[in-house]
Subunit: 153 residues, 2 copies
DNA sequence: GCCGATGTGCAACTGAGTTGCAAGACAAAT
DNA sequence: ATTTGTCTTGCAACTCAGTTGCACATCGGC
């Protein structure tokens, strides 16, 4: 992933009313380059030597969330996964699918999940859907060549 | 909550292939007496002086889950909420509603949430729905008498 | 370039949940 | 009722994502 539009990143930050700093540009870059939701640790790993301090990454993510650039996608094994906020409506984010075999979690950005029916007395502002089952990689593994079980998705 | 059928509790444990012990009966009692999902801490608090050791409560809950008496309802603020497994189908548990104002979480046991449409390549075995918004207690508080904001739901 | 407002790094902390192990309680067999 | 092997419990110490306080560095408007 060769520098995805470094100036656009700066632009994004400014549009969110955020000061442009090195940690913020690199963290945002990592988020945009990632295939799906990522943890603080995964961001740090992806940035390797250039990674800011752990605390800074958390505070940066917090600032991004405040500015609606990023949101918390889901909690898994007691750790948060973050992802860019595009492709999410106010009412509901796309569903996320966790494979019970390989542990990976995919964004089902295509799926149109119906909103919950109204419930007397409640005002539903946001809906979050998590699905579990077998992912394409693990479903009916041809022959014996299954999938190397990775740590995270 | 005056001893909800102590013998039935023993029966439940045995039916799950579990040994009958004091910690198990009291913890199961607390779970059944609770209005909704509860944390380890809330169980301990509800049992007060009679509460078993924290580790024992966790291991007890684990055993209950194994025996399908209890399940993990949802993760909130990095802590698990547990509830009895009745009222849950294999395919999906009832949705849970978290109020963004008072922080309470309610079981929407009545709500019939449609299952996610099939996605090419995936096998969906379980669906979990979390809703957020305003609960009846916080929605349009008449006059100024809102709700005392509690710590947890 | 200067300076107040923001952002960053470090070390120490928090708190839910886990692990290893010795001591205790259950229940099946005698 | 006593024995006996197995499963449970409690304690202390640990883990690990995330947070906090504070001194120092950086940003960007002037
Ligand atoms: Zn898989
Ligand atoms: Zn996603
Ligand atoms: Zn409320
Ligand atoms: Zn529930």
């Amino acid at each position: 992933m060769p520098e995805p539009e470094l100036d656009q990143i700066r632009q994004l930050l400014k549009s969110g009313g955020l000061r442009v700093t090195t940690p913020r540009t690199t963290v945002l870059q990592a988020l945009l380059a990632a295939a799906g939701p990522v943890t603080q640790e995964q961001i740090a790993q992806a940035l390797g030597k250039k990674a800011p301090n752990k605390v800074t990454i958390y505070r940066t993510l917090e600032a991004f969330i405040e500015a609606d650039l990023v949101h918390r996608a889901f909690l898994k094994d007691r750790t948060w996964y973050f992802e860019p906020a595009h492709r999410c409506s106010q009412e509901q984010c796309h569903p996320h699918f966790s494979c019970t075999r390989c542990g990976r979690t995919d964004c089902l950005t295509e799926m149109k999940m119906p909103m919950a029916p109204p419930v007397a007395g409640y005002i539903v502002q946001h809906q979050r859907v998590q699905l579990e089952g077998l992912c394409p990689r693990c479903k009916a593994p041809l022959h014996s060549s299954a999938v190397d079980i990775p740590k995270t998705g």
